[in-house]
């Protein structure tokens, strides 16, 4: 499959280039997508283009939790049935979708907009940390659940927030580490298993 310029028509190459900029898509996949679209009716291409523009034009950030939304405030923030006493702090808006799929969490959210990583030039000032502290001051939640990823940056961010929030008299919790459900102890890696032993609980 041709992947570099030369004989290919200009618009085709231009679209391949655009697709290649997307995460997880390399030049080969990009070319595949373009040739697929070439064979589809015009209205399909039209609705794809419109959907992409709509995302940019109509979606904005919720002024309370900074999740993505069409209406401000977002559906979760304006839902009276959600428990306002619990605030779950996530790195990105996409993490809310993952947590909402569980239907296990009934509280509200706060999106940081990333995690602390000085290597990438991201400190607390680049995230919505001040906004979180302001919300704690005005909404008086009882518990802050920190749901950053269990990797180095997520951990550092969680520890930082805990240092910052605990003195405000709010209880700070962290998602548990553990074994995947339906998994096999045999297949768990040593580190996860060790964490699961540390975090064991009474039955």
């Amino acid at each position: 499959m041709p992947t570099s310029s030369g004989s290919i028509a200009g618009p085709v190459q231009a679209l391949i280039n655009e697709f290649s900029k997307l995460p997880t898509i390399g030049p080969k996949t990009a070319a595949r997508l373009v040739f697929y679209l070439l064979n589809r009716p015009r209205n399909e291409a039209q609705s794809l283009a419109e959907a992409i523009l709509a995302v940019k034009d109509r979606v904005r950030l919720c002024s309370i939790c900074f999740s993505i939304t069409e209406e401000d405030p977002c559906a979760i923030c304006s839902d009276e049935r959600r428990d306002a006493r619990t605030l779950c702090v996530v790195a990105e808006a996409k993490d809310i979708f993952a947590l909402e799929r569980t239907s296990a969490y009934k509280g509200r959210y706060h999106v940081l907009g990333g995690v602390i990583s000085p290597m990438d030039g991201i400190g607390p000032a680049q995230l919505r940390v001040k906004e979180l502290v302001d919300r704690i001051g005005s909404e008086h939640p009882h518990e802050i659940v920190i749901a950053t990823n269990p990797n180095a940056e997520g951990e550092a961010t969680a520890l930082y927030l805990s240092r910052l929030i605990t003195p405000l008299g709010v209880s700070v919790t962290r998602l548990a580490y553990g074994l995947p459900i339906g998994g096999d102890l045999d297949y768990a890696d040593e580190v996860t298993l060790a964490k699961a032993i540390e975090g064991r609980r009474a039955l």
């Binding site: 030049p27 000085p118 030039g121 550092a156 240092r163 040593e190 580190v191």
Partner: protein, 366 residues
């Protein structure tokens, strides 16, 4: 441990290779640049998941191709294990993927299924070279042996990079963040120091014995761990306490010099002969003998701790050594189950070896 098959595809100068190595000694003889080191590099990669020659992993892929693959089957105590590693060139850099028994796994899980002790000419600089070489010697031995060591090392290095970035930044570093990174450094670093202290003691004992055998006990070889954070007793609390105290003591200096000054990333290992540092006072011959003893010790300690003989990979080192030393080294690791040795000429005195000839990436029984 025994590697029973090796399969290479588009790795370095090999288009395709199927090899069934023999138990015991495998000797690969060929002129330079025919693919001898590449073969050893591939075997080592199945053990450590990394190249012993390059950090530019794209070099592992044959020119003009996008994917290199290395796989093999090994007999270990737990049974038969199939290991695979592919290196793929993408526009965003190279990507390595690992598999154990056909199932994709993360690096941490892949590491250590097959253990290798590698000896390359560059190792002869281990005594006189920079401390980084000695640290990576310890790291590679320990990471193969203990999964938790690799995990703590990765955790330590990540926190260290973040802390350095924070210190180098334009703004005054956030004190809370510094404290968080320091806490991680102390936690992970303490584990590294404990493991290093232990393995250096074991290496020192083993190397001294081998060395005494070679030199008739005329000189006493000692290997000492020189941690950046000195500690009295090798216990978790004591080390963590000493580490935290030194971080506090040098906090001002770290900020002023905008760099990290405290921790096991600045550790060293000192090899001494009768109490004198070999790096400073040893002759080249004395330094070489000490490295040989250290390598034999690495092999013995790995064997002793795991109860399984690691594979021994010697890349072109026999030719660097005089016949006496080469013979002494081979009898030092007398108990090996399988060894892979490359040389430009058939060395003398290597009996009972399966000899292979390598010519332009073709490997044939000689």
């Amino acid at each position: 441990m025994l590697l029973s098959t090796l399969h290479l595809s588009n790795m370095r100068n090999y288009a395709q290779l199927e090899l069934e190595p023999a138990a015991g000694l495998n000797l690969f003889v060929g002129r330079n640049a025919q693919g001898k080191s590449n073969l050893l590099e591939a075997i080592s990669l199945l053990g450590t998941g990394k190249s012993f020659r390059t950090s530019r992993e794209k070099d592992l892929i044959r020119d003009g191709f996008e994917i290199a693959s290395i796989s093999g089957e090994a007999h270990v105590r737990a049974g038969t294990v199939r290991l695979g590693c592919t290196v793929t060139a993408t526009p965003r850099g190279t990507r390595k993927m690992y598999a154990v028994n056909g199932r994709g796994v993360r690096y941490a899980k892949f590491l250590g299924s097959l253990r290798v002790v590698t000896f390359v000419p560059a190792d002869l600089q281990l005594v006189s070279g920079a401390p980084a070489g000695r640290r990576s010697f310890l790291n590679s031995a320990l990471a193969q042996e203990q999964k938790t060591y690799y995990h703590e090392l990765a955790r330590y290095q990540k926190a260290l990079m973040q802390k350095s970035a924070l210190l180098r930044g334009d703004a005054e570093p956030d004190a809370d963040l510094l404290a968080i990174y320091n806490e991680t450094l102390v936690e992970a670093g303490t584990e590294l120091m404990l493991a290093r202290d232990q393995i250096v003691r074991a290496l020192s004992e083993s190397a001294a014995m081998v060395h005494a055998g070679w030199t008739g006990g005329a000189e006493r070889l000692q290997i000492a761990y020189v941690p950046n954070v000195p500690f009295e007793v090798p216990a978790q609390d004591a080390i963590a306490g000493a580490f935290a105290a030194k971080l506090r003591a040098l906090a001002q200096q770290e900020r002023a010099r905008r760099t990290t000054l405290v921790g096991p990333h600045r550790d060293d290992v000192d090899l001494q002969l009768d109490g004198h540092s070999l790096a400073a006072y040893g002759s080249q011959g004395q330094q070489r003998t000490a490295v040989l003893a250290l390598k034999v010790a690495e092999y013995s300690v790995m064997l002793e701790r795991s109860g399984e003989a690691p594979l021994l990979l010697l890349d072109d080192v026999l030719s660097e050594l005089d016949p006496g030393r080469a013979q002494a080294f081979l009898s030092g690791v007398g108990g090996f189950e399988q060894a892979f040795i490359t040389a430009t000429h058939l060395p003398e005195g290597l009996s009972q070896a399966r000899v292979w000839s390598i010519d332009a990436a073709q490997v044939r029984p000689a």
